[in-house]
């Protein structure tokens, strides 16, 4: 018996390793388009600061900077325009520092300083001379920015970046300039277009110039611009062409513009359908993930475990603790959290089963009350240890941002990963239940306890392990949820109802039911939401499930056999 169990746990751990490896593989995949990193550019720019300036220019530059410290936001915008127009060698460095909140004014000397941080050590350089300023306790005030100033700064910096060596920086610069394109920018872009080598940048410039040409006086040029924009899907293109339709008089341009608008609209409708479907699948995947542990404890074992939500919460807190332990490796800490959360929640689950649930088999009402008590205890425990405040779990770089398919359709990485993760967890669980001897015993015990015992299965031990497995999976769900929602003592409560809903809807005791049920509910909710609002959508789903359960008491996938008839 012991050997059997050991063999089994070896299989489980091998499966787990496989799971982790798969996740690592997914997690280390890097998105193609990295965003422009201004920090690097500051360093590149610092060498420029050293070049000597003619005296009168230096004075002009320092005058503008001195005013920057105390100016209002609108005055700051004028000053930054001056910095761009005059093109002082240090202009760009100052603009970047201002954008990055790293520009300071020394209160006593009136000098403007640029902060650079390396390995947690702060150093200040004079923005004009570039010399190192000793950080001797002098009183420095950060020069603040607001949204519109920051937006303008990005455009300003893009003008400098247009001539960068790095094609990614140039590409980013052209994209940035699209919002602010005027005659002078257009001239600059045309110049760049003639010397540009990179195809992507040329394409980006072509579109930007075409958008600019939509406002041209010449109807020929406008027509050419509309035709040049054929095939684009972006919002700015759409808006500009719709705006053109309002003012346009030339028949041919109107015809071309209408055709383009119609085509874009058709494509947009299609992609928005696709988008909603993805949202639905992703919401469904969260439901499945939260419910799948319950599908084992409630579905297979028949235990109404009200503390299921708290086991999810423990998984989320495990992620938080792992991040505290590995503050410099956010991505790694998330990956390590998966086995850690499985262990923590699994052990607590086994504890609950051995300490409470096993005395109450066959008495569902008492189990419900007892596990509810456990859930309150766990919540309060977490409140005492971690405070009632929500804890902040960081999202690793690789999980934030968008995977862009085209200009109107993009999916967020964190949702995509969680969707994939859900399928991996599901597959893992299915394998455990169907291909391992633990799974065999679990099914045997759940179908006929006496007979299983007669065949030599240690039912008590199987019960504990099954409960631990379900609980551990809940912990894994917590790791995923920590990336989406608050990590706080109430995390579990938010998901317990949904979890029961999914399991009951999908059919008690059936993993496939949970998967299909969760996904169905997710997709249906998301398709309803835009029409009736989130509140009503939730109500409709609940009513639907109530009616559905009236008609089909066993859920989507009724369990067949002895257990189903209550033996």
């Amino acid at each position: 018996m012991r050997q059997l169990l050991e063999g089994m746990s070896a299989k489980v751990s091998r499966l787990l390793m496989l799971l982790i490896m798969l996740f690592v593989g997914v997690a280390t995949y890097q998105p193609l388009h990295a965003s422009t990193d201004y920090e690097d550019v500051i360093e590149a720019e610092e060498s420029l600061v050293d070049t000597a300036l003619p005296a009168d220019q230096t004075e002009e530059f320092s005058n503008a900077l001195a005013q920057l410290a105390s100016a209002s936001f609108s005055k700051k915008e004028d000053l930054t325009s001056e910095l761009v127009a005059k093109r002082f060698p240090g202009s760009r460095g100052v603009l970047v520092a201002l954008l990055e909140n790293q520009l300071y004014a020394d209160k006593s000397s009136g000098k403007v300083l640029i902060l650079s941080e390396q390995d947690g050590e702060k150093t200040y350089h004079d923005a004009i001379s570039g010399e190192l300023i000793a950080d001797g306790g002098s009183d420095k005030k950060r020069i603040t920015t607001n949204n519109s100033l920051r937006k303008k700064l990005r455009g300003d910096i893009a003008i400098f970046d247009l001539h960068s060596e790095d094609r990614n920086v140039r590409l980013g610069a052209v994209q940035q300039l699209r919002d602010v394109v005027d005659q002078s920018v257009a001239t600059m872009l045309m110049k760049q277009q003639s010397i540009e080598k990179d195809d992507d940048v040329i394409e980006e410039i072509r579109v930007t110039l075409a958008i600019f040409d939509l406002g041209s006086e010449d109807s020929e040029a406008r027509l050419a611009a509309v035709e040049a924009l054929d095939g684009e899907l972006g919002n700015d293109v759409f808006n500009q062409i719709s705006a053109l339709l309002h003012s346009e008089e030339d028949k041919e341009v109107i015809k071309a513009a209408q055709a383009t608008i119609k085509r874009i609209e058709g494509k947009r409708d299609f992609y928005s359908l696709l988008e909603t479907a993805f949202f639905g699948l992703s919401f469904g995947s969260v439901l499945v993930l939260a419910a799948i542990g319950l599908a084992i404890t409630f579905g297979v074992m028949g235990v109404i475990n009200m503390a299921h939500g708290e086991l999810i919460m423990l998984g989320a807190y495990t992620t938080f603790v792992m991040q505290q332990l590995l503050p410099d490796h956010i991505g790694l800490s998330i990956i390590l959290s998966i086995p850690a959360a499985f262990l923590v929640s699994g052990l607590v689950g086994i504890g609950i089963e051995r300490g409470v649930v096993r005395f109450l088999y066959g008495r569902p009402l008492e189990t419900l009350l007892a596990t509810f008590g456990v859930s309150l205890i766990l919540q309060q425990l977490v409140r005492t240890i971690f405070s009632p405040l929500n804890r902040s779990v960081q999202t690793p770089e690789m999980m934030s941002g968008l995977l862009r398919f085209n200009e109107v359709f993009a999916v967020t990485y964190n949702r995509l990963y969680i969707l994939i993760f859900t399928f991996i967890v599901f597959a893992g669980l299915w394998l455990i239940l169907n291909k391992t001897s633990l799974g065999l015993k679990v099914r045997a015990v759940s179908q006929n306890r006496q007979m299983a015992r007669a065949m030599g299965v240690r039912t008590a031990r199987v019960d504990a392990l099954t409960f631990g497995l379900g609980s551990g999976v809940a912990g894994i769900a917590g790791v995923a949820l920590s990336q989406l929602t608050n990590v706080g003592p109430n995390l579990g409560q938010a998901y317990i109802i949904d979890s029961f809903m999914v399991v009951v809807f999908g059919g008690v005791g059936n993993l496939w039911g949970t998967l299909v049920g969760g996904m169905t509910l997710g997709v249906a909710t998301k398709f309803l939401e835009p029409h009736v609002g989130a509140v009503v959508a939730k109500i409709i789903m609940l009513v639907f499930i109530i009616l559905f359960i009236q008609r089909r008491k066993q859920g989507l996938f009724p369990q067949k056999g002895r257990a189903a008839s209550g033996a």
Binding site: V286, R383, G488, P530
Partner: protein, 430 residues
């Protein structure tokens, strides 16, 4: 579910009852009793525990100065456990069992509405320290948080005039405060000539966590070529996934700024602020305001709570102002008698924590400065705009026809909802 909530209530009541008996047993009668009615467990514990500590800090400081009227102050802390009906029970207990002289408490509007009849029936005195939707003025309540004209309306003005916003998303959690605030804002926007097509209103349930569809709708709504902003009355926990989703879908504050009325320093301290940088918050106080009185306040809070990382926030300031005004009224009238204190309060002034003065008005609201700030990556907020002077709180908004005719004045009119057209007090006290 009903079993669950009943059990929750029972358990919470047990815990709360235990804590009270422990707290009050040993004290002599010769103290002034200050009731504290803030949730110490449940959903709202996150926000309300801080306010309980603030009141305790104020009591400690007052006692160091020798108390009031020669008596020491004594706190009576109860835990209504984020359970609205329990708020009413606990309020009754404070007033009739513990016989407290004043109560500081409540956070959500629904909890305030729940205790209101109790305070009026037993003639208690409540200081309510949180920004709320207005449309109320009770003789027994002093509202030290902002009314809509001290937070929501100026924030919209700022966006309209300074940022040039033309399209509006009003997003809120589905309950009384966002519903009423959005009703007022919608009326206000329309009075400013904003068309129906340029206003999108969206409500979500408490603790909503799947924002993909809604954020994507906002993105589509905001990409019609006009400057768009989101006015958020989304409550508490739901904010984190909301801002995360905004960040993930690459909606930056520079494109579509979100101005929030319930996100402050305390809420920011528990979350990853990266996706929030540049989004706006409208309050009457920010920890970052650099004036001596504020530095002192922050210092004494950090010392009291024994944690240098704790932050201060707007409802804390409102609690402090309320406490100081009450202490002042007690000293002025030389009694803690509720009626005398209520009559003495209007007209009293005390410094606020941003370098100005808070004055209690006859409608039981305060004068407050309005600050708009942009969230920084360290969880603090940079002030980008503020009103030139304090704005007097208006209990009944001027932008809803049914409220525009109402006026609250407890000094001359002795009425919380005097109808200036019919020249009648409706008789209802709130």
């Amino acid at each position: 579910m009903s079993i669950r909530s009943r059990v929750a209530r029972f358990a919470a009541a047990c815990i709360a009852a235990g804590s009270i008996t422990g707290m009050t047993a040993a004290h002599a009668a010769d103290t002034i009793k200050v009731g504290v009615l803030h949730s110490l467990s449940g959903t709202m514990a996150i926000s309300e525990t801080t306010l309980k500590d603030t009141v305790l800090m104020m009591i400690e400081e007052q006692n160091k100065k020798g108390g009031l009227l020669g008596k020491k102050l004594e706190a009576v802390v109860v835990d209504p456990a984020s359970n609205w009906p329990l708020f009413a029970e606990k309020a009754r207990e404070l007033l009739s069992v513990h016989d407290v002289d004043v109560v500081f408490g409540c956070w959500t509007s629904v909890s305030r509405k729940s205790v209101l009849p109790v305070f009026e029936e037993l003639n208690g005195l409540l200081f309510y320290p949180v920004q709320y939707e207005g449309e109320e003025s009770s003789r027994n309540v002093f509202y030290t948080g902002a009314a809509p004209n001290q937070q929501a309306i100026p924030a919209v003005d700022y966006l309209m005039n300074e940022v040039g916003v033309k399209r509006w998303v009003l997003a809120g959690t589905d309950y009384v405060y966002p519903r009423t605030t959005n009703k007022i804002l919608e009326a206000y926007l329309k009075s400013k000539g904003v068309k129906d097509a340029d206003i999108m209103i969206n409500y979500t349930p408490f603790g909503h966590s799947d924002w993909q569809g809604i954020v994507s709708d906002i993105k589509k709504f905001g990409s019609a070529g006009k400057k768009t902003a989101v006015v958020s009355t989304i409550n508490g926990d739901a904010n984190v996934p909301f801002y995360k989703e905004l960040g993930n879908q690459k909606i930056s504050a520079e494109d579509i700024p979100v101005v929030a009325f319930s996100v402050g320093e305390e809420e920011l301290s528990g979350i990853d602020t990266a996706p929030l940088v540049g989004h706006l918050a409208a309050w009457n106080y920010f920890q970052s305001v650099d004036v001596p009185v504020n530095s002192e306040f922050i210092e004494s809070w950090k010392t009291f709570i024994k944690n240098p990382d704790r932050v201060t926030n707007d409802p804390m300031e409102a609690t402090v102002i309320g406490f100081n005004l009450w202490a002042q009224a007690v000293e002025k009238t030389k009694t803690t008698d509720v009626d005398a204190v209520i009559d003495a309060l209007p007209g009293l002034e005390t410094p606020n924590m941003t370098g100005g003065t808070a004055k209690m008005l006859p409608n039981h609201h305060l004068t407050k400065p309005v600050l708009i700030g942009e969230i920084r990556d360290d969880g603090q907020v940079d002030v980008v705009w503020q009103t030139e002077s304090e704005v007097p709180g208006d209990a009944w908004t001027d932008f809803l026809p049914e409220s525009a005719v109402l006026e609250a004045d407890w000094v001359d009119l002795k009425c919380g909802n005097y109808n200036t057209k019919t020249k009648k007090c409706s008789g209802q006290n709130y």
